[in-house]
């Protein structure tokens, strides 16, 4: 691997010990993955923010790195942490947990990472341009940036993303290269994929289907038709999140929809060496459904809800009121806007709460007394039973709103 003069200087410690450590990590990863050089990145999304997830060792590592006084040289944003920084007290969080969570955020802020605390940086002004390189961790955002926006990023981990933030570069391999973006498999979809939850279920099946392909697989999907209008974005978000969770897909092409498939579909689909088909979403819906007994809380917004999603929930609720807790996870910036435009108050009058800075996957659900949830997220349905021993009712957003209003599933 060939490093530039600037990169060699960083490695030699001329821009501080923190940046030198960062370059050492990137050079080793580049070597492992056969990169020839580094590429400059426009932005970085750092994962591994939740204290419950990284624990005391992760916190110690971040505080030590912060002590080396290097700072991000490109726009860098944070994934959700473990707690809503405004509402934690009323949600019943132990103060000791929140103090540790705040130390994680403070260490990252000292490293120059902005406390956006969302898995959807692309919804709050950090959307990369087509063809540009970024270094993002957070599997659902990686899938969205690569597939829907046509930017280029590998599936980074917390430390490797942070290393990219401190140096402004990442090793050029796999999804940064034209070759690495070629499909490994054509996936022909022969059933209707109507709702966002359907798209998540399809993603779950595709992730498993391509997981043995090279680099976690790049599916070229045909036959799946997303809804027109603003719901299309939510549908694509759910599709990518589902396959990133069940497999380790960082990029999908959807015929006639995603930008690289529109620009170059014939060449891309000709490159795929394998072909599979999906006839039914039922196997996914069965695998993801573990609901039983009363629902503690209805949780939507995994990945984080957009302003469009909030409007949609409001219109599905109509004048009805939720009988059981109904949590909508979103970015703090979007919550703030909804407080200004009145959507937040309208949702609250109908018994729904907007939660920010955290999400159902990384929050300490068991400690908050949550055993059974309903959700429209395939990603959350995949993780919650193993991460939090929670039972999950999985269905469409419409079914979830009905569950909230009636206080039970169906």
């Amino acid at each position: 691997m060939k490093l530039s003069k600037r990169e060699r200087d960083i490695l030699a410690g001329k821009r501080g010990k923190g940046a030198a450590k960062a370059m050492e990590i990137l050079a080793a990863l580049g070597r492992i993955h056969g990169a020839r050089r580094m590429v400059a990145v426009d932005s970085v999304q750092v994962s591994g923010i939740s204290y419950g997830n990284i624990g005391e060792h992760g916190l110690a590592f971040l505080e030590e790195w912060a002590g080396l006084r290097s700072r991000a040289v490109v726009a860098a944003t944070m994934n959700p942490g473990g707690a809503d920084r405004t509402l934690w007290k009323s949600l019943g969080y132990p103060p000791a947990y929140v103090r540790k969570q705040e130390r994680v955020v403070a260490a990252l802020e000292a490293l120059g990472v902005k406390p956006t605390l969302t898995c959807t940086p692309y919804q709050i002004g950090f959307a990369p341009l087509f063809g540009r390189h970024v270094a993002w961790a957070e599997s659902s955002a990686v899938c969205f940036a690569n597939s829907v926006l046509g930017a280029r990023t590998n599936r980074e981990g917390g430390p490797s993303a942070l290393a990219a933030a401190l140096t402004g570069v990442t090793p050029e391999h796999t999804l940064h290269t034209d070759e690495g973006r070629l499909p490994t498999r054509i996936v022909e979809v022969k059933c209707a994929v109507t709702t966002g939850a359907d798209a998540g279920a399809l993603g779950y099946l595709i992730g498993r289907l391509v997981s043995e392909d090279a680099h976690g697989g790049v599916p070229y999907i045909t036959g799946a038709v997303p809804p027109n209008g603003p719901e299309r974005i939510n549908w694509l978000k759910a599709l990518g999140a589902g396959m990133a969770a069940s497999g380790s897909v960082g990029l999908f092409h959807l015929e006639g929809v995603t930008p690289e498939a529109i620009a170059d579909g014939a060449r891309l689909s000709a490159a795929a060496k394998a072909r599979s088909s999906i006839d039914s979403l039922l196997p996914a819906k069965k695998a993801l459904f573990s609901g039983k007994g009363p629902i503690d809380v209805v949780v939507v917004g995994c990945p984080h809800a957009s302003a469009e999603d909030l409007n949609r929930i409001l219109s599905l609720l109509g004048e009805r009121k939720a009988k059981i807790p109904f949590w909508i996870f979103t970015a703090e910036v979007i919550r703030k806007q909804s407080q200004v435009n009145g959507v937040s108050a309208a949702l609250e009058r109908r018994g729904a709460s907007l939660l920010a800075d955290t999400c159902m996957v990384v929050a300490p659900l068991a400690e908050l007394g949550i055993r059974t949830v309903a959700t429209d997220s395939a990603k959350a349905s995949f993780y919650l039973p193993s991460h939090h021993q929670a039972k999950v009712y999985f269905g469409s957003l419409e079914e979830n709103v009905e569950a909230a209003v009636r206080g039970k599933w169906r």
Partner: protein, 130 residues
């Protein structure tokens, strides 16, 4: 006896007796940084301590938070002397660097017997005894 040159993941020098697993190791949730002991039912390393050993295993499995476990082992003084793998992934590579554990991969593990004295120095793996 010198062996074929390996690929450096984190360059350094470390020697010790081999602690070997023929199956992948999970770091997060299995390797306790406080004690250095590995816990996984029916795993060949269950109950074994990695401190000061040359840890030999084909590859890692499981959570990406595993990198932090290798860092924590360095902090608690329970780190292995070196690591030798067949194929090193991002999780172990990052952990080796942030935990400063000399690590190489692309090594034929069949010649490394459990309990043998082995030295890793840069890309050289030398069997000193056993």
């Amino acid at each position: 006896m010198a062996m074929k040159k390996a690929r450096i993941i984190f360059s350094g020098s470390g020697a010790g007796r081999v602690l070997k697993s023929d199956v992948p190791m999970g770091l997060f949730g299995h390797l306790d940084p406080k004690t250095g002991v590995y816990h996984e039912a029916r795993h060949p390393l269950d109950g074994k301590c990695v401190k000061g050993r040359v840890l030999v295993f084909p590859r890692a499995k499981g959570s990406t938070v595993g990198s932090y476990i290798l860092y924590a082992l360095r902090k608690t003084g329970k780190a292995p002397a070196a690591m030798i793998l067949s194929e090193c992934d991002t999780i172990v590579a990052v952990g080796a660097i942030i935990g400063s554990i000399p690590t190489v991969d692309r090594v034929d593990l069949s010649r490394l017997k459990d309990g043998a004295m082995v030295r890793v120095k840069g890309k050289e793996v030398a069997i000193e005894r056993g």
